[in-house]
């Protein structure tokens, strides 16, 4: 990719592509499973936004902390949470990554420092501040990475968190996934100033905009930011401009935007973009792409079969996980 200032190998580009395809196809299967009522509740797809979690995750190591929203299947997968554990969670099974208690919106895997899907908009930002504060206090050289949508920018918690992060010079990477809509509310109806990165700059954070459809750009910006953060430069903010190709959730009739607008954005989609670049630069063979897709499908099939067969938690356990120990009364 021409804008790429990072030196990336063919293998790495293939890896990035595969990760994005994994997320895309996993979620497409989820749609089918949702219509079959195997998955219930709210289901928010990341379709179109895959480059962001995949790109950012390349800059993080296993000690870093990650927080995300209810639209977090992609983040969980890119972070390395096993697909089986995620699918089982969506099925409400005991083997799920949150024991069946959380579902699609609340994927957790603390062994991978994945601190969840949070379904209160902007609700994870103060937690990110606290996690980073704990790292700083204990002199751990790690980064806390917090993902959220541009809708969160209107909440007080966003502003309070950015101020605290800079005030205390905390090692946080804030990733704003600006897909231009908060549910049905267009950016122009959300923000008096639509340059979101400027809001962070106002609080003194190093802040920039990247093309969130270009996985290599996202990775490059994240690598630079993380290096700076690890060197004590304090919190960084990246606004990734993107678009969600499908409805907000499975209930969305999308009255608020035109199908031609969606089609325009789809042409710039992250998977199409990278595939096109790889093909036109002779960096991928048709058979390689096919093999990649087949491997992904096999992984998904196995995850679905595993989730189907997994047990649900016995009812006797209902009161667990409210406190460290079930309450004695």
């Amino acid at each position: 990719m021409s804008s790429n200032k990072l030196h990336v190998s063919r293998e790495h580009l293939h890896f990035l592509l595969k990760q994005m395809i994994r997320i895309r196809r996993f979620e497409e299967r989820c749609v089918t499973l949702y219509s079959e009522e195997k998955i219930r509740g709210f289901l928010h797809l990341y379709n179109g936004e895959e480059a962001i979690s995949v790109g950012v995750m390349q800059a993080l190591n296993s000690q870093d902390a990650v927080l995300a929203t209810y639209r977090e299947h992609g983040h969980a997968l890119a972070r390395g949470v096993p697909m089986n554990d995620i699918m089982a969670e969506m099925f409400g099974k005991q083997t799920g990554c949150s024991g069946g208690r959380g579902g699609s919106m609340h994927l957790f895997d603390i062994s991978r420092r994945f601190f969840g899907g949070n379904a209160i908009v902007a609700g994870a930002l103060p937690l990110a501040v606290g996690l980073a504060l704990a790292d700083k206090m204990q002199q751990r050289p790690v980064v806390t990475c917090c993902f959220f949508g541009e809708g969160a920018v209107a909440e007080g918690e966003f502003h309070e968190s950015l101020n605290l992060a800079k005030l205390w010079q905390l090692p946080i990477l804030f990733i704003c996934e600006n897909n231009r809509y908060a549910m049905g509310n267009a950016l122009e109806l959300e923000e008096s100033n639509q340059n979101i990165y400027l809001k962070a700059a106002n609080y003194g954070l190093a802040s920039q905009v990247v093309d969130g459809m270009n996985v290599v750009d996202v990775e490059a910006a994240s690598q630079l930011a993380c290096t700076a953060i690890r060197n004590g430069a304090g919190p960084h903010f990246i606004e990734c401009q993107t678009y969600r190709f499908r409805g907000h959730s499975m209930f969305d009739t999308q009255l608020y935007r035109s199908s031609s607008e969606i089609d325009e954005w789809k042409k710039m989609g992250p998977i199409i973009q990278l595939t096109h670049w790889l093909k036109s630069n002779h960096q991928i063979e048709a058979e390689e792409l096919q093999a990649m897709e087949q491997a992904v499908d096999r992984e998904i099939d196995a995850a679905v079969a595993d989730a189907e067969n997994a047990a649900v938690e016995p009812l006797e356990g209902l009161l667990t996980h409210v406190y460290a120990e079930a309450p004695h009364e």
Binding site: F42, G92, M105, N185, E190
Partner: protein, 333 residues
């Protein structure tokens, strides 16, 4: 008489209010272009325009506070909060401002505001989208708390709430939106602060409201088939609480079973039990029983969520135990 859904009843109430009073406007997240998270306000933007159907950013504390200000300033805002859990972000404005301004100004400030919010469990939305906090709001002097459980109330309570000089919160249970019922022919329904006996009976009073009312009615029907004559009291308004109707019912039936979707401890069901202990103890032939939400944050998995909520068979079973006086030693959980 026509059949309509709760969704359409809530909507018709807003259409009427917007049509009849130019001071009324609706604001909240996705009430306009999206058509309302639960489609209650679908079409209103086209009919009433963006000045009166206002899509707000995600700023619960900000726009609820702005609703309070606009009410003080002479408007009659209907503020919609998408889900009760998100109202917690606006709790400061609701409790520290809306509920207190009249008192701390020595009676000078009125806040004629209506806040509507969806609430309740049953759709596998897990622990940040499913709760019942009406008891929390009903704890606060200065607020009035309505919880319609019938089509008539869904259709006509808003009008009474808007006519009230004080802040009124209206809860809308998400499992009711698609349910249909017969719209009463007149808007001459009980005053908003009165409880209503939905079914008269002599053997036992089920006391409930909102999203549990239909479960109580179903249970009463099943009990009827078993030969019991059950009364169902619909509280409708949780603050102020119509204690007289509750006591009066129990005075006649001598048995009280409370059904409350929210957690048992320190909530509405506890308040009603205490009222009975204070004012109706000598009328009671059996200990008060409560069927409430199990004290966990709502779990995602279907079977766990169902087990955490009051269900019809449980209500029937508890009622039968009470009626047969095979009362187990009061449970402690």
């Amino acid at each position: 008489m026509s059949e309509i859904s709760f969704r359409d009843a809530f909507k018709a109430a807003m259409v009427e209010a917007l049509t009849e009073d130019s001071r009324v406007f609706l604001m909240g997240e996705d009430v306009g272009h999206y058509g309302g998270c639960y489609a209650v306000s679908k079409g209103l933007l086209d009919d009433f325009g963006a000045q009166r159907i206002i899509d707000t950013p995600l700023s619960e504390s900000g726009f609820v506070g702005a609703g309070i200000g606009a009410a003080i300033g002479g408007m009659r805002p209907i503020v919609e909060i998408m889900t009760v859990n998100f109202s917690l972000l606006a709790l400061d404005q609701i409790i520290n401002n809306a509920a207190t301004l009249r008192h701390m100004s020595g009676g000078q400030v009125s806040v004629p505001l209506v806040i509507r919010m969806a609430c309740g469990a049953g759709k596998q939305l897990a622990a940040q989208h499913s709760h019942s906090f009406e008891g929390l709001y009903a704890h606060v002097p200065g607020l009035k708390v309505l919880y319609p459980g019938t089509i008539g109330d869904a259709r006509y309570m808003l009008k009474m709430a808007l006519a009230d000089p004080d802040p009124v919160i209206i809860f809308e249970h998400v499992m009711l939106y698609n349910q249909t019922g017969t719209l009463p022919e007149t808007d001459n329904i009980a005053p908003m602060e009165k409880a209503v006996i939905r079914k008269t009976g002599t053997d036992l009073s089920i006391i409930t409201w909102g999203g549990c009312l239909y479960k109580a009615m179903q249970a009463a029907e099943q009990l009827e088939e078993q030969g019991y004559n059950i009364e169902v009291v619909d509280l409708r308004c949780l603050r102020p609480l119509d204690r007289d109707t509750i006591i009066d019912s129990v005075r006649r039936t001598h048995k009280a079973l409370i059904v409350d979707e929210s957690w048992k401890s320190v909530g509405m069901s506890a308040e009603i039990s205490a009222t009975l202990a204070e004012q109706a103890l000598w009328y009671l032939d059996a200990p008060v029983r409560r069927i409430c939400g199990i004290e966990v944050p709502t779990p995602y998995a279907d079977h766990l969520e169902k087990a955490s909520l009051p269900q019809v068979p449980q209500i029937v079973e508890a009622a039968v135990q009470m009626l047969q006086s095979t009362i187990p030693t009061p449970e402690v959980k």
